[in-house]
Symmetry: C2
Subunit: 117 residues, 2 copies
DNA sequence: CAGTATCCGGTAGGATACTG
DNA sequence: CAGTATCCTACCGGATACTG
């Protein structure tokens, strides 16, 4: 199935979720709707710029909803849409694989990098 | 789980499979062991350079095995390792999600990009 | 608070040419 | 056949400063 369309299907997802922050933002929002600053605090290391960009992309793709409240000071809340939530399970499947095989991969790298072998 | 370690687990996979060609190479090798040129032909658009790099990374991570036959002209065969094969299922889960939601995402983008709205 | 604007360095990856 | 070696560019993403 992956190669069925010349890789376009799988690439469609990968292009969407494989940047540095998207999965992390989605995973964070899985715990509930959050404001911009709360997200910023919840994701260590992300810059304002990248958080904004990531959220805009997710909003454009319909994975995240953005709600602006007409208050002073302004309040903006982000939440996963139904489609956004549906991404969590496939992502978890992949995450499980990562956790399960991370040790083996690290070991393989050390062997590969070791000039003595 | 995704955020449990600050996103390191999921990022470990993503960093490994999210470059432009890795998943496609893995998926192609799922159909059987192949030589360099066969892979090159099977994956439209990939350059020799990127195919080599991708294969080296996969080999380093222990996902792909490389067998050199002492012949003239040289023959090199690539195949998925057991761990490499184990990546296929999680990848398929993600691919299914992609195929299932691609239409919805495209629609969302068009709405988002339409200045009339 | 929730962004935008600008600058800037590193790197992914394409094109091309060469080799054991 | 199965790669290296180089060059070159686009763009990802960090740092910083400014704003409704």
């Amino acid at each position: 199935m992956i190669r069925g369309d010349g890789g376009r299907a799988i690439r469609a997802v990968l292009d969407r979720i494989c940047d540095k922050w998207t999965m992390l933002v989605v995973a964070t929002l899985d715990e509930g709707r959050l404001r911009f600053t709360e997200l910023h605090r919840s994701i260590p290391g992300i810059s304002q710029r990248m958080l904004t960009l990531t959220l805009r992309h997710l909003e454009r793709d319909g994975l995240v909803s953005r709600t602006v409240y007409a208050e002073v000071p302004p309040r903006v809340e982000y939440a996963l849409t139904t489609m956004g939530k549906s991404l969590i399970q496939p992502a978890l499947t992949l995450a499980s694989w990562a956790i399960e095989h991370n040790g083996q991969i690290q070991a393989s790298r050390e062997t590969y990098d070791d000039p003595a072998t």
